[in-house]
Amino acid sequence: MRDVAVVGFAQQQLPDFDGSPTCVEMLVPILAECYEQTGWTRRDVGFWCSGSSDYLAGRSFSFVQAVDAIGVTPPVNESHVEMDLAWAMYEAWIKIQTGEVDTALVYAFGKSSAGVLRRTLALQLDPYTMTPLWPDTVSLAGLQARAGIDAGAWDERAMAEVAQRSLTDAEQNEHSIRKGGSSVEELLARPMYADPLRKHDCAPVTDGVAALVLAAGDRARAVRDRPAWIGGLSHFVDASSIANRDLTRSPSAANAAAAVDLAGVEVAELHAPFSHQELILRRELGLADDVRINPSGGALTSNPMFSGGGIRIGETARRIWSGEISKGVGHATSGAALQQNLLCVLDSSTGKDGL
C-alpha cells in the first residue's frame, strides 16, 4: 500500500447561503485556500472527486456546473459521488493506491436550505413502502432515540450531555452555526420538539462546502512537516430497512472499527447528526474514556449535507498537522439512522519510520 496523507482542508458553513445551488461562489474561495495551504496550483492536482446531490437544491447536473470552480482546460481527471465528501475521499485514496496519480483534491457542496432537508432525505428510503409516507429524518432519528431510551441503552440526560459538550466546544469553532453551552439541566428544561428529541438533539440545517487534499509519500512530506497519514480507511453498510435493524446498535460502525486500528487515538471526530447517535458510535467503536470526542463541536452544531462527514476527517487532520495529537479518527455517516459508516484513522507516523 502507498502511504497517503491528508495535507489540506478548507470549509465554509452557513445557516442560509443566498447563492446558487451549485455553491460555486463558496467553492472558489475554499479551493483557493487549498492551493495556498499546499503551495500548489490546480495543475498539481492529479485527481478530482466531488460529492453532492441534485435533490438537495433542485438543480439538475449541479455537479457538472460545480466543475467550473476547478477550471477544466486542459481536461482534468475527475469523478463524482452522490455521497458525502468522506466517500469522495475514499475514491481518491483508491485512485492514488492504483499508482495512476500521486495527488488528489476532493470537494463537496450542498445548499440544504433551498428545500425542506428532512423531507428531501425521505427519497433515500425504500420507494415502495417508505417514501410515499415521507418519513422525515428527524422522525427516523426520534424512533431510534426512543428505542434506546426504552431499552435502557441511554437516557435523555446522556443525550443532553452530548449536546452540552458539543455546544460548548463549538464556541471555539468559527465555522459552527450553532454554539453556546449552558448546562445539562438547562438543556433538559427546554421543551420537547419531536418527542423524545429536543431541538438541540438535532443537527441544524446547514449550507456549506468543504475540500480535502490528499498526497502520497514525498508529495505529502513536501507540503506538511507533519502530514496526517491515513493509517486505515474502511466503510460498511447496514440493511436499508430501519424496521429490521436493532436501532440501538450500528453493526456497520462496529465492522468498520474492526477493520482499522483505533488503539491510541486521542481524538475522535464522530459524524453524529443526532445526540444519541454519538452514544451509539462511541459504543460501537469501543473508544476509551480518555478519547476526546468532537473537539470541533461536531455535527450537532453544524452539519452541511455532503461535507459534514468529510469535515470530521479534516478537523482530525488539522490537529495532527499542528502537533496537538499524534493519532485520531474521523467518522462519516450516510443514509437513515446511521445506516452507513466510514472510518478514517489518521496518524502522524506512517508506521514505517526508521526502517
Binding site: 472558489v28 428531501t120 413502502t129 409516507l133 426520534g142 424512533l143 428505542a147 419531536a194
Partner: protein, 346 residues
C-alpha cells in the same frame, strides 16, 4: 436590494414502478385489506416482506398473513408534518409489530398529542375505503382499546405473544368485496405510481443576478474572466476554463452572429412554438460565449451559419427578470459574418 435573485420552483414527477412478485404480493394484500408478511430463513416474520432473504439471499416465497392489530415498539412525535405525510396536523410515526409478525412496520399513528401514545400501546390498522394496491391503502394505525399493555406498565419482554400464522389469519377482518365474487379475485398488483413533488427556493448566483437585473432594464450584461479575458454572457461564478469568477460589467448591443443552429421539427410536451423553428447559438458582438435563442423572421431553411441577427425585445410592460424579455433574434439583413470571426466559438 438582496444580493441575489430567487424564485420558488417545484420539481415533480410521478414515479411508476413495477413491484416484482414479493412487493406485489404485499401490495395486492393491502388492496384486499390483508397484511401479508414474509417469513425469513431464520424464522422472522417481516412486514413488508423482504424481497430477498437476508441470510440465504434467496427470493422470499413463504408468505404469511398477519393481523391488522399490533403493538407500538417505538414512536416519535411529528410536531411539524411535511407535505405528503399521512397527516397535515401533528401525529406520531411509530414502529408497530403487528400480531403474527416478529419485526415492526413503520407507519403513522393517529393520536392528537404525545401523551396519547406510548411504547407497548395496542393499535389497529385504519384502512382506506378505496384501495388500489399502494402503501397508502393502509391509512394509519389508531389506538385499539382492546388490550393496552402500556396501561399495565408492561412493555418489551412482556409484550403481546406473536400469534401463529393460522391463528392470525382466521382472526383477520376482511372487507367484503374481496371475497364477494366467489371466483378469481382481481388481478394481482404489479405496479405502483408514487407522485414525488419537491418545493425549492431557487437562487441565482450574484453574477447571474446581475445578468437578470440587466434584462429587466432591457440591457444585456456580460462579465470578463480576469485570467483568460473571455467575456461571458451570462456572467459566471467561475470561468469554466480557469476557475476564476468573472468580473466587471460589459454591456452588449444585442447584435450578433449565428454560429450554429438546429431546425426543430419534433413536437414535445410544453413546446411553445409550432415546428419547424430554429434554435441557434448567437454569438453577441463582444462576447466569447454564444447564447442559445430562438430565430424568427426568416424561413427555417434560410437560416445559416454566419447570419447576422439582432435581439427583438418584447414590449417593455412584459419584461421580467428573464432572458425571455428578448422574444427572439431576427436577421439584420447585413452581409454574413466571415467564418474566421466565429470559428473559435463553435
Amino acid at each position: 436590494m438582496t444580493r441575489t435573485l430567487s424564485a420558488p420552483v417545484t420539481v415533480a414527477f410521478d414515479y411508476t414502478r413495477s413491484t416484482g412478485p414479493v412487493l406485489g404480493r404485499f401490495l395486492t394484500g393491502l388492496r384486499d385489506g390483508v397484511v401479508v408478511a414474509g417469513r425469513t430463513s431464520d424464522g422472522e416474520v417481516v412486514v413488508p416482506p423482504l424481497e430477498y432473504d437476508p441470510v440465504t439471499h434467496e427470493q422470499t416465497t413463504d408468505f404469511v398473513e398477519v393481523a391488522d392489530t399490533g403493538t407500538v415498539t417505538s414512536w416519535t412525535w411529528v410536531p411539524e408534518p411535511v407535505a405528503g405525510q399521512p397527516f397535515d396536523r401533528p401525529f406520531a410515526f411509530a414502529l408497530v409489530t403487528l400480531d403474527g409478525a416478529t419485526k415492526p412496520l413503520f407507519h403513522a399513528v393517529d393520536v392528537a398529542s404525545p401523551d396519547q401514545i406510548s411504547t407497548g400501546m395496542r393499535v389497529r390498522v385504519r384502512w382506506a375505503e378505496e384501495r388500489v394496491g399502494h402503501i397508502n391503502d393502509l391509512l394509519c394505525l389508531e389506538p385499539a382499546a382492546d388490550r393496552d399493555e402500556a396501561a399495565d406498565g408492561v412493555a418489551g419482554e412482556g409484550r403481546a405473544r406473536p400469534r401463529l400464522r393460522d391463528e392470525a389469519a382466521t382472526e383477520l377482518s376482511r372487507p367484503g368485496e374481496s371475497d364477494a365474487d366467489g371466483g378469481d379475485g382481481p388481478e394481482p398488483v404489479t405496479g405502483v405510481v408514487t407522485p414525488v413533488s419537491l418545493d425549492y427556493v431557487y437562487a441565482a448566483s450574484p453574477e447571474e443576478s446581475t445578468f437578470y437585473r440587466g434584462l429587466d432594464e432591457g440591457r444585456i450584461l456580460g462579465q470578463r474572466c480576469p485570467s483568460c479575458q473571455k467575456v461571458y454572457v451570462p456572467p459566471r461564478s467561475a470561468c469554466p476554463t480557469d476557475g476564476t469568477p468573472t468580473e466587471g460589467e460589459i454591456e452588449l448591443s444585442g447584435l450578433g452572429t449565428i454560429t450554429t443552429f438546429c431546425i426543430v421539427n419534433v413536437p414535445f410536451l410544453g413546446q411553445k412554438i409550432e415546428p419547424p423553428y430554429v434554435s441557434a447559438y448567437v454569438l453577441l458582438d463582444g462576447a466569447d460565449i454564444a447564447l442559445l435563442h430562438l430565430i424568427l423572421g426568416v424561413p427555417a431553411d434560410e437560416v445559416r451559419m454566419g447570419m447576422r441577427v439582432k435581439a427583438v425585445w418584447k414590449p417593455r410592460e412584459e419584461w421580467a427578470y428573464s432572458l425571455e424579455n428578448i422574444d427572439h433574434f431576427a436577421p439584420t439583413g447585413d452581409p454574413d459574418a466571415d467564418y474566421d470571426t466565429y470559428k473559435r466559438h463553435l
